[in-house]
């Protein structure tokens, strides 16, 4: 090849196409979720006082420290500040009552990060939402602390629903509905149920001036944050719509004394549905990737939530319903693949 000698250009980089990539990253996604959770955190501080901030701060610091320590032990790259541990910390704090002792968020977060996430290999490999797993662990271990640490909101106004001090609206209504079914305290119970269906009651549920876990009370502020994630295209409408829609429809059909008399607005706004539907059921890692799978996933979450709320032992079922549906994600993805173009 004397005549046509070629020269290898050693400075050239050779790699497979495509040669252009997005500027998006896992960090950007995770920190966007953090930003999206801030309005609800601010609301929690307003309603429950600085205590909400301390609990959340403790959870976040514990989450990051736990992740770093485990990654060091596993001798893998330390990505504790990629935002995902922070999200887990915030979400765990959002799922505990504001009045819990300081070690509750610590234990819950350590469990969430260590058992919920790293036992399976870390971010991307966890089958269930770590924060919800942490909450489930706390609920099973310290049920009394996890269900009585409510405090009546100090900011904002109180309404008829939270007249019973230290209980969440869902607990109040559940007790009233049970009484109605058993035929005891009928008048008082009916008054409670009716007061929950007033515009004033909806409004306090919407803005968040009711008892509940730190981050779940204000539908308004959660939706503001979720809107940001929609705008960034990090979540889509399928799971929130099918989840909330299912709860609303089933709540309307079965939630009242007779069929089709349930208070669907109450079922949408009370408890952790808004937080769960927009921020936890949509957790990328643990929800299906296929569009049809996402619809089914949301429907399943809604169905289980209503079953737990209406006939289960707990007043609220959002977190368990998401955890159970998380386990169906691999199957849903496998059997709900979209139709290939031209197939």
């Amino acid at each position: 090849m004397a005549d046509t000698k070629t020269e290898v250009a050693p400075q050239l980089i050779v790699s497979a196409s495509p040669h252009l990539r997005t500027t998006d990253s896992v960090e950007k996604i995770m920190y966007s979720v953090v930003i999206a959770l801030l309005p609800a955190l601010a609301g929690a501080v307003y309603y429950f006082g600085l205590r909400a901030l301390w609990v959340t701060g403790i959870a976040v610091v514990t989450a990051v420290a736990t992740e770093a320590a485990i990654q060091k032990c596993r001798k893998v790259r330390i990505t504790a500040l990629d935002g995902s541990a922070i999200v887990t910390g915030i979400l765990l704090a959002f799922n505990v009552p504001p009045g819990v002792p300081w070690w509750i968020p610590v234990v819950g977060t350590v469990f969430a990060i260590a058992i919920g996430k790293h036992v399976f290999g870390g971010l991307g490999l966890n089958p269930m939402n770590p924060a919800l797993l942490g909450r489930a662990f706390l609920m099973a271990s310290w049920p009394v602390m996890m269900t009585t640490g409510w405090s009546v909101p100090t900011g904002g106004t109180t309404s008829g629903v939270d007249a019973v001090t230290g209980a969440t609206p869902l607990m109040v209504i559940k007790a009233a509905m049970r009484d109605l079914a058993l035929g005891i305290n009928v008048e008082q119970s009916r008054a409670i149920v009716e007061s929950a269906g007033t515009t004033k009651a909806y409004l306090s549920l919407f803005v968040g001036s009711v008892g509940g876990c730190i981050g779940e009370t204000s539908a308004l502020l959660l939706i503001v944050g979720a809107a940001y994630l929609f705008y960034k295209n990090y979540i889509n409408y399928r799971i929130p719509l099918s989840f909330i829609g299912t709860v609303a429809i089933l709540g309307w059909i079965f939630g009242g004394e007779g069929l089709f008399t349930g208070d669907f607005m109450f079922h949408i706004l009370a408890g952790g549905l808004i937080l769960g539907a927009f921020f936890m059921a949509t957790d990328m890692v643990t929800c299906p990737s296929s569009p049809l799978g996402q619809w089914i996933f949301g429907f399943g979450c809604g169905l289980l939530t209503i079953v737990i709320r209406l006939v289960g032992g707990y007043p609220e079922g959002v977190s368990y319903s998401i955890l159970l549906m998380n386990l169906t994600t691999p199957l849903l993805d496998r059997y709900t693949k979209p139709k290939v173009f031209g197939a």
Partner: protein, 444 residues
């Protein structure tokens, strides 16, 4: 006819287009090089057979190889000179491949006079087809499928629509854009020839809306045309992919694993249409093409280049690198191939040379998939890359096949959007290869 509706397909991405670097640069004729390297394989199909020997004098447009089978095309000398060697030479597709090396005598003496035949539209479809085959034309958009094969659909697959692809959806590239601005009549003549060969009365010129000047020219040209319509396309990658383009213009879906003729369509690139016109009206073989040289070069240009000119010469003609080069890509940055040497020749499918500086080339440390499903949202073939890639990583070729991996056209949208920096496209490509291997093994 002018369609006023902007059409598109489901999925796709919006990469930064960088077209402003070269879009306003008129096509410039590149001076002849001292030497050209004509690979015997510039097309999909069987490699052509050399018909010249070392020492022979060849003239511009003279065939130097002949087809070795039905799906094969000849290559031609792109200038006059002496055959110096027929040997293995670096090929832009990445491997070394046999090529005819011609040293120019500087005379550029033509093989025949390439005179204009004013009665070319009176030629029979058969005669036209033969002229196109003799001219060694392949698709010039990048896939290099032999053009005459596309013009010979089997009897049971009637064609009713011809679509000219002027989408040019790859970032950076402007060669088709310039052709449409500077040679619109030739392109339409070429389309009429294709329509006559196929006996078709419905033609489309499909152009992405980021080229309003080209759309204006073709609307003027086609405003009273009863057969050919202009179809403006939404700006989105990969709008120019054959199946997506057919869907956008006709709403027909090419069945999975099948060719456009299944739905009565033939798609040709606008550059190919011009080459077809020149082959039929002038008997001119495909020996030159427009190449966009852009990116980190001093003066980005659209160059009319003889086939066989080396990439090194093109870059030097554009003033060289502005800074230390990282990647030199033949084709666009989405589907083009990163070269390891500058001594590869321009071939019939080379639409551009994109130089990325070292600073622009990012290295990615792939993270675990977080199942964000953005690849699912953008896949124009409706696949689930995230799922398929997990099958590939676990060597489950059976599941990958079941999930439709063979429908992947390798547009790279999935890898483009991946926030975890995963080599999704690479794994898909590897999976396709392994599925083919599995199928071969099953047949034995």
């Amino acid at each position: 006819m002018i369609s006023t509706i902007t059409r598109t397909f489901r999925g796709g991405i919006h990469p930064p287009d960088h077209k402003a670097l070269s879009a306003a640069k008129a096509i410039e004729v590149m001076p002849l090089s001292a030497r050209v390297v004509i690979p015997l394989q510039q097309h999909i199909g069987r490699i052509s057979e050399a018909i010249v020997q070392v020492g022979d004098r060849v003239l511009r447009g003279q065939p130097v190889s002949k087809p070795s089978g039905p799906v094969s095309v000849s290559s031609h000398a792109s200038l006059s000179g002496t055959v110096k060697a027929i040997e293995s030479y670096p090929h832009p597709l990445g491997q070394a491949a046999p090529a005819v090396v011609i040293e120019s005598d500087g005379l550029d003496e033509p093989h025949i006079d390439f005179a204009f035949n004013s009665k070319y539209m009176s030629l029979t479809p058969e005669e036209m087809k033969n002229l196109i085959a003799d001219a060694g034309i392949t698709g010039m958009g990048g896939a290099t499928f032999p053009t005459h094969i596309k013009l010979m659909p089997p009897q049971d697959k009637p064609i009713d629509t011809v679509i000219l692809n002027g989408a040019e959806c790859e970032p950076y590239l402007t060669s088709d854009h310039r052709l449409m601005l500077e040679y619109p009549e030739d392109i339409v003549h070429g389309l009429r020839i294709i329509m006559k060969v196929l006996g078709v009365t419905k033609g489309f010129v499909a152009i992405e809306k980021n080229k309003p000047d080209a759309i204006a020219i073709f609307s003027e040209l086609l405003k009273n045309d009863g057969q050919i319509s202009l179809c403006p396309l939404k700006v989105k990658y990969p709008q120019g992919a054959e199946k997506q383009l057919i869907y956008a213009t006709t709403r027909r879906q090419v069945p999975a694993g099948k060719l456009p003729m299944e739905v009565g369509c033939v798609v040709q690139n606008v550059g190919t249409a011009k080459a077809i016109y020149e082959a039929v009206a002038f008997q001119k073989p495909l020996i030159e093409r427009v190449v966009t040289v852009t990116g980190a070069v001093r003066e980005p240009k659209n160059l009319l280049v003889r086939i066989g000119t080396s990439v090194r010469e093109l870059i030097e003609y554009c003033g060289g690198f502005t800074e230390e080069p990282g990647k030199v890509i033949m084709g666009g940055p989405m589907m083009g191939i990163a070269q390891f040497t500058l001594d590869v020749p321009i071939i019939k499918g080379s639409s551009g040379i994109v130089v990325m500086s070292r600073g622009e080339v990012k290295e990615y440390e792939p993270q675990e998939c977080i199942a964000c499903a953005q690849c699912v949202d953008v896949c124009p073939m409706n696949l689930m890359p995230t799922l398929i890639v997990s099958y590939v990583e676990n060597e489950r070729w059976d599941l990958a096949k079941e999930a439709g991996i063979m429908n992947c056209m390798e547009c790279g949208s999935c890898a483009f959007v991946c926030p975890a920096g995963r080599n999704v496209m690479h794994l898909m490509r590897f999976g396709k290869f392994m599925v083919q291997e599995m199928e071969k093994a099953e047949k034995k």
